[in-house]
Amino acid sequence: MTDAFVEAWGPTMERAFAQAGIALFETMLYTDQITPRNTEDITAEGHDEKELLYNFLETLLLKFEIDGKALGKFGVHVINQGKDSLNLTGTANGEPYDPEKHGRKIEVKGVTYHQMAIQRERDRVLLRFLLDL
């Protein structure tokens, strides 16, 4: 099987996560064709940063797979350390998936930990991850 290997970055962890969300949807469809008509609340948690990224991306994948949502714009507001886990809250904007409008690329089977990396660099945060296709 092939994979989509993604690098996403932003000036903060939150902004980098938001970019990762775009990359997930761009693997499946054309995100520039999405009209941000609805807003969804997004929450995720993880016992470490990698699990948080995994769970965040899976939450978004399920929005597509179960709710049929095409999401193209993400705002990750806060990532903070809870008692036992890291917690994320944010929003996602989009509309119901329409293959005619948003196109069809490739299905994503799942998020993986394979070669996952979260790096804090001098002026940005860089995320690397692989999607199983």
Partner: protein
Amino acid sequence: MRLIGSVYSSRFQHPIGGSILKMTTLEQHPGRSSAHIPLEKIAPNIWEVPTSYNPGMKVPARIYADDDLIAKMKTDMTIQQCVNVAHLDGIYKYSITMPDGHEGYGFPIGGVAATDYNEGLISPGGVGYDINCGVRLIRTNLSEEEVRPVLPKLVDTIFNMIPSGLGSKGQIRVSTSELDKVVTDGVEWAVDKGYGWPDDPKTIEEGGCLESADPSKVSNNAKSRGAPQLGSLGSGNHFVEIEKADKIFDKPVADRFGITKPDQILILIHTGSRGYGHQICSDYLRVMEHAVRKYNINLPDRELAACPANSPEAEQYLPAMAAAANFAWVNRQMITHWARQAFEKIFAKPSDSMDMRIVYDVCHNIAKVEQHKVDGGLKKVFVHRKGATRAFPPGHPDIPAQYRDIGQPVLLPGSMGTSSWVLVGTPKSMELSFGTTAHGAGRFMSRSAAKRKWWGADLKKSLEARGIVIRAAAMEVVAEEAPDAYKDVDRVAEVSHQLGIGTKVVRMVPIGVAKG
């Protein structure tokens, strides 16, 4: 990090925020190889990494490959991953990689590991995301000559009747409670509903139903994801192909499989458990992550995440995995039904008059409870097969009665434009590989092929120039699945044949392809 090929790269690049998306194969990631690992060639096509290489290895790592295939494996993490699997507690004999092996997540694709039924570890990564991804072969009594004139219409009809591609949903809608029934009863459910013939389950691995399935161990997310997708092909490397028998190598066995003449038309279906299985894998990888900490399991790679066979976590995962396996068999059953209907529509006669029987159906992503000879005694084990096919010898009780005296049919799908194979299981496979052989072409892409792969439309043209009709939901997928991207399936079949873990029966070539 070097960009190999980037379809969607530039759109999001921005100095302060952005992302690059590379469609790639794991092999292409630079700076990672298995070339430094000491390999001994212990016999033709048999390679081993001894346990002395790493003190954590419980058994040697063993790879079945010819010189060229092993050279390719050295360029990525395949051999390292085979070594990693050798670390699993309770593993017997050796961690095995098949000739079509390539880098996967945790386990290599083409990885086989038998772990002790009581004391061993169970690893969902040793099964994979697409639980019971597998292959089904249906025969017909039609010849190429009869099919060729209507081929484009036939492929169109198949493509239109069988939902495929991103977000594809089945033609029927099952509620989640009906879905529980589907995965409990397996293929019998489909036959009862009219999606098949009463004899169909007889020539499916496990009769198309693992009795251990328990939908109460499956999350609501998996059920919601899976329910609308029952009876759909999906995307990626999944397909329905119309094949013709190209060359018969073992006439007596081929006759028994109902493949009697070159140019006979066959149908090959390759798909799995869709979002249902993918979500079960993902859900239980999370459970195993916690189990690794809970049971203090030492693993060389996070993605090998596993739990002890006798733990509550295993007691939940295995029935959930079995439910996904049953989902996949029903999925292939419904696709079979529509493929028969497509033939009926085009040839205006009933499918039974075209002898459209299931030759066999194999799963190549699964963990099974089996008995195997280890150190002279019989042991009950969990055989993890991730991108590997069971290949039981003549006489084995788990083979359908009608094939029991000749051995289990094994199906090796190639890729668009290349051949696919029917092999047969042998006693040697019990000795060398826990009754297992390869699962297909495996993936290998050269850099030049990676560049070519973006030209889906050109590829379609070149296949059609060779008489192969293709219909696909997305041209990106056609490009992704370029034949060049795969290890030569003929070479893989040859290694299996020479080792005797699955011997050659029939080579098929595609004339029509419908894919996601």
